[in-house]
Amino acid sequence: MNSTVSFFYFLSFLTILSAVMVVVSRNPIHSVLYLILAFFTLSGHYILLNAQFLAAVNIIVYAGAIMVLFLFVIMFLNMKQDNEEAKTNIAKIAATIVGGTVFVILFGAYRKSAIPAFNPENFDSQVGMIENLGHILFREYLLPFELASILLLVAMVGAVMLGKREIGERHF
């Protein structure tokens, strides 16, 4: 077994573990931290897959911006672990069974169909590089790229509108 392969399995294990910890942690702050860990492991996967640009973006946008926002809000609202009333165990078990069923079904579906393998003849290792993505993003994907800015604008306007304090309202 070569080292990249074992590294893949290690990363995968770490990813799943941190994902599970996100879900089971009692303390929201721990959840956030585990999620950040999950994002780092995912970036590791991206690098393995030769998608360096996205690996960087993932760290910057997800772990750097989005998760910090989460962390910020959680600390802002001063959430503690005992804030949450736990669901009953039955509900948890049921949820796990249902989730497991989804996995089994999807797994069954994968088993039934041929998975496309990579083609060494015309393999291009450069697809994940920034030039390549830039060319596509600003040519073929120009319209959605521009319209994604509308989405961000909507989110900005919306977040400000909902989040801002009205006159006479308490701070927190």
Binding site: A109, E140, P144
Partner: protein, 465 residues
């Protein structure tokens, strides 16, 4: 193509107009914007199928017809909003801006040729709707509705995205045409179940947005909690866009695997019809009833998708138009009536708010009656023909059993639609004469007129699309 560009621009302009001291300019300005967008939309009429930006967007007459319905509905809804003048806490510039942007999303969903356009479109529309649902910030019901809608919507987005991913994995492309090519060339015995799984997950995400059962649970709560004007927007614009997207997706990419998915849609259609119609009968709140009625109409539209025969396309367009017009009328009257009497500071949205409406406000009662008749599908209203076309499309596919259920359910529908008619005509109430702004009146009368016109001459669109 024009309306997407125009509306993006106008949305930004509207946000800037919010800085001006005079809030009165907002409403006329946005209405003007919508008229320009409508005009721009029909500039491309009959120009044949046009593809824009490396096949991202397809503009043909079907797209334009759906766009027209969406923009027309939006125009009417903007007009009856009255510029949010009556609520001092409101922020009209933001509301209008968000609605204009959400229209961009809706139009993207109508014309998409590439799944990224569908995804971004759905997200623009949804994110704007999450915000507008919660726009009544100090109202707990509005807050609750927003959080419910947001959490469930984001959850559904997750499924939709995973579906898209699997589709990409199976076919190697996000383009409808190439997916179609892959899907129609699958050999019997070696079908790609990854494609099937992707299709199902994507459909589930979309069905959530059009509130089909069993993904409808958010609908009654969100429709009830959201400010009525945005409920109207959700039940017309969002629904029309959702069905346009579903139609384009299924007809553009998956006709080759019709045998796989039609029974799923059929089963969901039946379930949706049952839930919507039966659920509506036990409601005491008119607004909540309309939410269930929205679910049931999603069921009827799903029948047209199930059939996906030649008449389906026109049936969906006609039905969406008829449904939007009637829904706007119903909510429009509700907004006027519910303000008259409040229960604990909340507008009275129960049936008994309409008691004795006809005595002092014959026009409103008439508008309400026509819209209810149309929603119930009584002949000589547009709603009847909508249902008729849909059933015809199912009959042409030879799926009669689903029509049996649908017609039975429409019988149930009469019960709850007529309740409000009975309230307004036959029950005694002390409702005074409601003052209606002239423009408001014009919109209601126009929608009613169109409902009757399309009811008398449903062939008026014939040959257009």
């Amino acid at each position: 193509m024009y309306p997407i560009v125009l509306l993006s621009f106008f949305g930004i302009v509207t946000l800037f107009l919010g800085f001006s001291k005079s809030k009165n300019i907002l409403l006329p300005a946005t209405l003007l914007f919508l008229i320009i967008a409508l005009a721009g939309n029909f500039l491309e009429w009959n120009k044949g199928p046009l593809l824009y930006f490396y096949d991202m967007l397809r503009v043909d007459n079907v797209t334009l017809a759906f766009n027209g319905i969406i923009l027309l509905s939006a125009f009417m809804i903007f007009a009856i909003s009255g510029g949010f003048q009556d609520n001092p806490d409101s922020e009209p510039a933001e509301y209008f801006g968000l609605m204009l942007f959400s229209l961009v999303g809706a139009l993207m969903m109508v014309g998409f040729q590439h799944l990224i356009m569908l995804f971004i479109g759905v997200e623009i529309l949804s994110v704007a709707m999450y915000v507008l649902t919660g726009s009544n910030k100090r109202n707990l019901r509005s807050n609750e509705a927003a959080l419910k809608y947001f959490l469930m919507g984001a959850f559904a987005t997750g499924f939709m995205l995973f579906g898209i991913t699997l589709l990409y994995g199976a076919t190697g492309s996000f383009k409808l045409e190439q997916i179609q090519g892959f899907a129609s060339n699958m050999q019997v015995g070696s079908e790609s179940y990854i494609l099937y799984a992707g299709l199902l997950l994507l459909l589930i995400g979309m069905l959530f947005k059009v509130s089909a059962a069993p993904f409808h649970f958010w609908t009654p709560d969100v429709y009830e909690g959201a400010p009525t004007i945005f409920t109207t927007f959700m039940s017309t614009v969002v629904k029309t866009a959702g069905f346009a997207a579903l139609f384009r997706l299924l007809s553009g990419s998956f006709t080759g695997v019709y045998g796989f998915w039609w029974i799923v849609i059929a089963a969901i259609a039946v379930l949706t019809l049952l839930v919507g119609n039966i659920g509506a009968t036990s409601q005491n709140s008119f607004k909540r009833m309309l939410a269930y009625s929205g679910i049931s109409h999603a069921g009827y539209l799903l029948i047209a998708l199930t059939a996906l025969s030649k008449p389906s396309q026109n049936a969906i367009i006609f039905y969406s138009l008829a449904y939007s017009l009637s829904t706007i009328c119903a909510f429009g009257v509700l907004m006027l009536v519910s303000k008259e009497k409040t229960i604990g500071g909340q507008p009275n949205e129960y049936y008994d708010a309409f008691n004795g409406l006809a005595k002092q406000n014959p026009l409103l009662a008439f508008v309400l009656t026509v819209s209810m008749l149309s929603l119930a599908g009584i002949p000589l209203t547009a709603g009847f023909w909508g249902k008729f076309f849909i059933f015809t499309s199912a009959a042409e596919r030879g799926i009669i059993w689903i029509t049996v259920i649908a017609v039975l359910m429409s019988t149930v529908g009469i019960y709850y639609y007529f309740r409000v008619i009975i309230s307004s005509y036959l029950k005694e109430g002390d409702l005074v004469k409601i003052r209606v702004a002239p423009f408001y009146k014009v919109i209601l009368v126009l929608a009613t007129f169109l409902t009757i016109l399309f009811g008398l001459a449903p062939g008026i669109f014939e040959g257009l699309i």
